[in-house]
């Protein structure tokens, strides 16, 4: 079983890295891009000793307490398998 966690900056929080990436992409000639936001992606391998809902519960806690800072970031958890 694998958990995937996506962490992204809350809307309204400045993302200068995203802006720099957007600028570079535009320099390559791509147009029509209105915004780029950079985030983080985590894969957490689970050993199968817990069921799907327990896994979701604990990964949700890990995402909230460690992987994200709730003041500036949101997160989303997906459980595969």
């Amino acid at each position: 079983m694998k958990a995937k966690v996506y962490v992204s900056l809350k809307s309204g929080v400045l993302d200068p890295q995203g802006k720099a990436i957007q600028h570079s992409v535009e320099l390559l000639g791509y147009s029509g891009i209105s915004d780029v936001r950079q985030g983080k992606y985590f894969e957490i391998a689970l050993d199968g000793s817990v069921d799907n809902s327990e896994a979701r519960q604990s990964v949700d806690k890990i995402a909230r307490e460690v992987l994200s800072n709730p003041i500036i970031e949101d997160y989303r958890v997906e459980i595969d398998g």
Binding site: V13, L14, D15, P16, Q17, A20, V66, L67, N69, I71, I72
Partner: protein
């Protein structure tokens, strides 16, 4: 009066802080390894600058889980004095000892330069030897010093007189031009509700000798020493 300087893997201003306490404050000081948990013999604890845990995940995020940080929380809850400098400020925010967060500088650069900050309150254990409005010149050295918080927190900080330092020009005017990193409301340092925990981005420990370009940082350590001397009596 005894000081402790906490050392995480990746701290790199620990020796500067130790030097200032022993040489300029003239008081006993120990290094405290991040796995230690006994702070009972200390009156003040400094969380120094650096790159704890390589700034992995977020600046200060992993240091929060070091064993010593539970002890720092208890120490602060009991009124112990905690000074977080640069990475130390980031750690205090991540640990929830101070509100808000420090994100990537507005212009992405790692900024290493002397800046001016205005003392916004003398009602703190770290600024009671300073007058409100006095300008200190100290170096900053960070990539994540852009202070953010929500509107309610900002209002609370101002209402409770907890904004301790704001970036300003050499004359003491708080302007956008004087804001090096985009910090909300030019905030460079804040204190806890109990006023015994201070976090700031500038490095007072690197501004204690004229040879280093400024000795303004000594006023902060002088204030803390005066507070402790009064408390011990």
């Amino acid at each position: 009066m005894k000081f402790g300087v906490i050392v995480f893997p990746g701290s790199n201003c620990d020796h500067d802080a130790y030097h200032v306490i022993s040489k300029h404050v003239g008081q006993p000081v120990d290094f405290i390894w991040h796995r230690d948990t006994d702070l009972s013999s200390y009156d003040a604890v400094i969380i120094p600058g650096g790159f704890s845990y390589g700034d992995y995940l977020r600046a200060g995020a992993l240091a929060r889980f070091s064993p010593v940080m539970n002890s720092v929380k208890k120490f602060a809850d009991k009124g112990g004095f905690v000074l977080g400098i640069c990475n130390g400020f980031q750690i205090l925010c991540e640990a929830g000892l101070l509100p808000g967060a420090l994100i990537r500088n507005r212009d992405l650069h790692f900024i290493c330069e002397h800046v001016c900050v205005r003392t916004e309150t003398s009602d703190s254990p770290f600024t009671n030897e300073l007058t409100r409005g006095s300008v200190l010149r100290m170096p900053i050295a960070h990539a994540e010093g852009n202070y953010v918080c929500d509107d309610a927190t900002l209002e609370e900080l101002h209402k409770e007189d907890r904004v301790v330092f704001r970036y300003c020009d050499p004359d003491g005017s708080v302007t956008q031009e004087a804001n090096p990193n985009g910090a909300r409301d030019n905030i460079a340092g804040i204190c806890s509700r109990g006023r015994n925990v201070l976090g700031l981005m500038p490095h007072p420990e690197r501004a204690c000798e004229d040879l280093l370009g400024s000795s303004d940082g000594r006023d902060i350590f002088r204030s803390l020493a005066a507070t402790l001397a009064a408390a011990v009596v």
